[in-house]
Structures are given as C-alpha cells and as structure tokens.
C-alpha cells in the first residue's frame, strides 16, 4: 500500500511532471517564477488547492456523477441511476468546486499570512484557471479501466502539487541568475524562459522509465 502511494508520488513529481512533461500550469509557472520566495508561496498554495480539489472532485465523481446505486441524486431522480450525469456535468461541477476552494484559500491567506497574500497578487485568484488543478481532477477520474481509489486520487493530487512546486523552484533559481546575464534583446523575458524550460524538460527525461 505504502509502496504504491510512494510510486504515485515519484511518478508525478519526476517522471510525469505536470509542468515539464504534461504542459499543465504554464501560465503561473512563467508568471510567478521570477523570485524564489513567491515561487515557493505559489507552489504551496497550488499544492493545497490540488490536494483538496482531488479529494472533493473524487467524491463528486463517484457519488453524484457516476451512474449506479451509490449515486445520491438517483435517490431523488431515479432516471439518473442508469445514465448518470458524468457526460454533461463533469466539467462544470469540477470548475465550481475548484473556484470555491480557491476563494477559501484566498480568505485564509489574507487572514493568516498577509505578506504572502500581497506577493502572490493577481496569481492567487488565477489558481482557478490554472489548468494543472483542473487537469489533475480530470486525470484522477477518467473512465479508464484503472479507476483510482479515494486515497490514490488524493495522493496523486498532492504529488502533482509537489511536482509543480519543484519545477517552479528550479525555474526561479535559474531565472534569478538569468536576470544578471547579457541575453540577446529579442530573447529576453519569456522566450529565454521557454528555452530554459525545454532544457529542464530534457533533463527530466532522464527519469523516464523509472516508473512504468
């Protein structure tokens, strides 16, 4: 059991890193990675939202959207028992769960860590539109045969958040040094950041094959 969970974490942090091999969450990755401190704050906030939203969307998927006896809505509207709501309501219900959670995190941070709240600025409400958060919720609940259990889904969400944080921290370290280097004018800013990300992704390729 513990071995399985450890394997999931290693898999999403290194082998299938969300930013570097699945292209999820690039906007905050490039937007907030100029300073290590704000990169760390963003990473923690995203990890928190991802873990909670993985858990809640798993519950929503299994007890509200999937057809079958476990469906709560089917107790009121029996016609849903066979069909389920999975096709039509998946995207909308997930995005609403995530938007609510982000609002919660925003209120908590403003009360508890105001300095971090200030430094994250516009990117905090933008976690809602971070595709890594919605992406992990969707990947956890795909209709594939290997349907994840509750604990596995939550751990995968947590691991994906850690993987995002690791990529952000590495990138912010590189960008803090890039700021001091003489780079050709047209490549300054986003283009050179992309090329560095490409090289990092190439380095992370070394992990592929570690976990099947």
């Amino acid at each position: 059991m513990i071995k399985e969970l450890a394997l999931i974490i290693v898999s999403v942090v290194f082998v299938n890193n969300f930013v570097l091999s699945k292209f999820l969450g690039l906007c905050p990755f490039l937007g907030v990675s100029q300073k290590t401190s704000s990169a760390m704050g963003m990473g923690v906030a995203v990890t928190f939202v991802m873990t909670l939203s993985s858990a809640i969307t798993w519950i929503v998927y299994n007890f509200i959207l999937l057809p079958g006896d476990a469906n709560i809505v089917a107790k009121v509207f029996p016609s849903i028992r066979e069909l389920g709501l999975i096709e039509v309501l998946k995207t909308i219900s997930y995005i609403l769960v995530i938007a609510t959670l982000v609002q919660l995190v925003e209120m908590m941070l403003r009360k508890m860590v105001p300095t971090l709240y200030e430094s994250l600025g516009i990117y905090l409400p933008l976690i809602t539109t971070n595709c890594a958060v919605l992406g992990v919720a969707l990947l956890n609940t795909t209709d594939s045969p290997s349907h994840l259990g509750f604990l596995h889904a939550t751990v995968q969400g947590f691991g994906a958040g850690i993987g995002f944080t690791v990529a952000m921290l590495l990138m912010s370290g590189i960008r803090e040094r890039l700021a001091l280097v003489n780079i050709p004018q047209p490549l300054r800013g986003i283009p050179i950041a992309f090329i560095c990300t490409g090289l990092m992704a190439l380095a992370f390729f070394g992990f592929s094959g570690m976990v099947q």
């Binding site: 909308i92 809602t128 539109t129 919605l134 047209p186 490549l187 986003i190 992309f194 490409g198």
Partner: protein, 211 residues
C-alpha cells in the same frame, strides 16, 4: 464607417493581437496538442467555437450580470459551451483524434484567451462586435497553432499533415516530445520579438531621415 470598424474587430486578432505570439496566452494547449497539424487544427476549431459562442452570450446578457459575480458567471457560460464541444467532438470526430486531444478539450474551460476576451471585450461591447472579435482571435490562435505544429511535425515526424516531407530526412522525435515543444515556442517567440524590434528600428530611421 461602422462596417469598417467591425472588420477591424475581426482582423486585429490575427496579427496585431495574436493570442499566442503577441499576448502569450493559452500556452498549455498550444504546446500539448501541436504534435501534429491535424491536432492543432482540431484544437483551434474547438476553442474558436467556444470563444465565439461565449463572447456572443456574455455580451448579450452583460447588462444582467452584476459586476461582483461576473467571473463565476463567465466560467459557467464557458463551461456549458465546452461541454457542448466535447459531446459534439465525441460524436462526429474519429476516436483517435479525440484520444490524442485527451483532457485538453475539457481544459478549454480554463484557457486564458477565452476568459480574457470575456472580461476585456465581450463584457463591454455589442454582440455583433463580440462575435467578430471572438472569430478573429480564434482564427489567429488556430493559425499560430498551425505554425507551431507544422514545425514540430516536420522536424519530429518528418511529415506535414501526414505527408512525408523528404525521403532522406531522419526525424528527430525529441521535437514531438515535451522539450522540443518548449524550445520551438521559445525560438518562435524570440523570432517574432526580433521582427517587431527590427520593424520599429527601421521606422525610426525612416522618421529621422524625414526630419
């Protein structure tokens, strides 16, 4: 006059406000689906449909949406159209194309281009102008996806639209994988920056000669 300004709403999205190369928005799908030209076109078409429809609906009902809760309203409208696109694509497109686009179709909900146009254009303008604006930006994004995917498919698989480019070329499959995507987009952005810089320099020189 009015016709002219409407036409401008359409054309500005293609070069002047190109979503990918000028505003650098919608990065995740731009990198993930551009492994082949076919995927790029399908993704661009789906996003354009959502952009046009959501722009139209948002600008039609903009007087009923209170300012404080406009973002949740936008998200629900956009998510409804994304669900429609998802179902339509499942019904009418080949399954392997759907499989290769994967979760990036539902992820159109969180595509920043659509949210950005809803917030900064559709919420302030008339329905017709919003439709044209959405169509123009959608077309601009689709064209830039085509450009990225042509480069990646030609270098990484040796084909364009499934047709072989050259017999002797050995494909470098790293261009299809993640590192190639980042490097191609980085270099393309750098190229467009260089082009913009050079244009502004030459126009400045012309100005000085004139004086």
């Amino acid at each position: 006059m009015a016709e002219q300004s409407n036409l401008k709403e359409f054309t500005k999205g293609i070069v002047q406000y190109n979503p990918l190369f000028v505003m650098v928005l919608g990065l995740c799908p731009s990198l993930a689906v551009t492994t082949s030209v076919k995927n790029g076109v399908a993704m661009g078409g789906a996003a354009t449909f959502v952009l046009v429809c959501s722009n139209f609906i948002i600008s039609s009902v903009r007087s009923f949406i209170p300012r404080e809760i406009r973002i949740p309203c936008f998200i629900v409208i956009i998510a409804a159209f994304v669900t429609m696109v998802e179902l339509l694509m499942k019904a009418y497109l080949p399954p392997e194309l759907n499989a290769s686009l994967g979760i990036f179709i539902p992820l159109i909900v969180v595509n920043c281009i659509i949210m950005y146009r809803a917030e900064s254009f559709a919420y302030k303008n008339k329905p017709l102008a919003s439709i044209l604006d959405g169509a123009g930006l959608g077309l601009g994004w689709t064209l830039s996806l085509c450009l990225v995917s042509i480069i990646r498919e030609a270098l990484g698989a040796g084909t364009i639209f499934g047709l072989k480019v050259s017999e002797s070329y050995q494909p470098a499959s790293v261009m299809i994988m993640a590192p190639g995507a980042f490097i191609v987009l980085g270099l393309l952005l750098g190229f467009f920056n260089w082009w913009k810089l050079r244009k502004s320099e030459t126009s400045m020189k012309a100005h000085m000669k004139h004086d």
